[in-house]
Symmetry: C2
Subunit: 326 residues, 2 copies
């Protein structure tokens, strides 16, 4: 910028005004604007956005904190967030928590120090205190997929309870009676509601058998899920269906059903919370719940942008997930 100014015999300020588009307010002559732009082109000037950020306090960067970007659900969510952010001229820094509190903390501290303009995050169990630091720093924040109940912040989620209840009802109407639920024991509303939605409907229909409700620890899921499957297989009364509360438990669960020669759907039917791209390559029938991932990602960015632009209004969206019959 100084180079351009020197070559043209003008001041750095003038160059800045032209190049940042603030010359319009009739502050700089058309003629000078042209000259500056031409010289910038010639010298192949590339702005240093770090300097700009320091000066303006705006980094045009948002932080995204998800559980695990290699997970199909979060990969898709992040993709749509990125594409939408791009429309606003924003760039995103993504980080993974692996459902771990320390990693969640590190991610947030890093993002805050990097001076991101806003953060979209997937809450981690017991992480509310940590998330509050974001609010304290007055950085806009949007929660997706889950949210902390008594936390005054934006969120975008689906109605997990409702769709789980609906799904369970659907299974019961089809004549299935002994329905198992396999769900992470993570104490976050999204998972809790999926589990509870089933349980409540089962109870109402007098079909609840607590032996069929399996809670899985995220870190030990491989072994615990296999054990759950074996348990269900050995249950004296035949189990009719298994409701898997997320795609990861589903994949692992079905793997062990195959391994233990449980035939789908002959022996048991399966339901998966989340659509999996490769359902289309498998020939087992699976009932699944499809979340509007694209809408969620885009809305998360839209809400975040409103907040970045100064809105103080808290937005809390609950989308409907769709039940698809396999």
């Amino acid at each position: 910028m100084q180079d351009i100014a020197d070559k043209l015999g003008v001041s750095k300020g003038t160059v800045s005004l032209v190049l940042s588009g603030k010359a319009k307010g009739s502050r700089v002559s058309e003629e000078m604007s042209k000259k500056v732009k031409k010289m910038a082109e010639e010298l192949n000037y590339q702005p240093n956005e770090i300097a700009r950020s320091l000066s303006t306090g705006i980094t045009m960067t948002i932080g995204v904190v998800v559980t695990d970007i290699s997970n199909e659900f979060f990969g898709n969510l992040t993709f749509y967030i990125q594409e939408q952010a791009k429309k606003y001229g924003y760039v995103v820094i993504t980080t993974n928590t692996n459902e771990d509190l320390d990693e969640f903390n590190d991610a947030i501290i890093t993002l805050l120090n990097k001076q991101v303009d806003g953060i979209i995050l997937v809450p981690v169990d017991k992480g509310q205190k940590i998330a509050e630091n974001i609010i304290k720093r007055h950085i806009p924040l949007v929660q997706v997929d889950r949210y902390y109940p008594d936390f005054e912040a934006n969120y975008i989620v689906v109605d997990n309870y409702k769709v789980s209840a609906k799904t369970t009802n659907h299974l019961i109407e089809r004549g299935l009676k002994r329905i198992a639920v396999i769900c992470y024991d993570i104490n976050l509303n999204a998972l809790r509601e999926r589990r509870q939605g089933c349980i409540d409907v089962l109870k109402k229909n007098d079909l609840l058998d607590l032996n069929l409700i399996k809670d899985i620890n995220y870190q030990d899921q491989e072994v615990e899920i296999e054990q759950a499957i074996i348990d269900l297989k050995n249950n004296p009364n035949k189990v009719d269906a298994i409701y898997f509360c997320s795609r990861k438990v589903f994949i692992t669960g079905v793997k062990y059903m195959h391994k233990n020669s449980i035939k789908i759907p002959k022996d048991m039917e399966v339901v998966c919370f989340d659509k999996i791209e490769s359902f289309s390559i498998t020939n087992i029938p699976v009932t699944y719940i499809e979340q509007p991932i694209k809408k969620m990602g885009e809305k998360a960015v839209d809400v975040l942008m409103e907040q970045i632009r100064g809105s103080k209004e808290k937005k809390q969206y609950v989308f409907e997930a769709e039940l698809k019959y396999g």
Copy 2:
């Protein structure tokens, strides 16, 4: 920082030395260090990394440019890159090209202006000129998955030709004779080599039938893949197997095989380049090629870090992919 200095009646420089850990060189007394740190704690001081970056010219940020982060392969790759970068204290900005040249260009310009310390990218067809801008700016660069042939830059890839040839040989040994190949028409070595590896082996065994080699346009893949499947089904001489050159063609292809009632493996066998997580939920047997994604991601970061730290030596790694029998 100035606040801390004022409260303590010392200079900003001293505070900086302490907080940035450069006080060790016996430049600042232990006593003063303690006081500064304590005060920093009390005031809940959080460094502004943007300011630091402007001053040092180091952003501790790397850029990653992939085709599409929601794709399982790139999602995994990005995940391992992020985890490895974290170990170096680095953060990553990810962007998607969707295999589009303009988006590739935008991504790179954005990253450069954001002053990233290095870039890991998945090349896009015809993008070499664009990628050269990175070199011109003296920003370290590592290509993954593919690379531009006459481009003096680092890369991390697998031996696509070799494993494709090996796979084809394996199919032939098993008695399969009419082997089809479905591959994107993208003019990048990775895809070309996968295709050519098959073709060469088929030719050598006098089994090559060009009608069975299908080239797919990335943007129109849905229709073109379906057409290819129908073509193969209607081929007067039964086709024994289809080699799909990437996971996305595979998923789409198998979907249309189901739709057109082609039984796997009875009617045709299938081979997929890339492992898919949900192979485990499907009961069709699939031979697949597993790339060492984790190693590739980690190595990409390691090489990039070497370059960031000043190494001028170009590193070019070719890993072996593994053939897995379904």
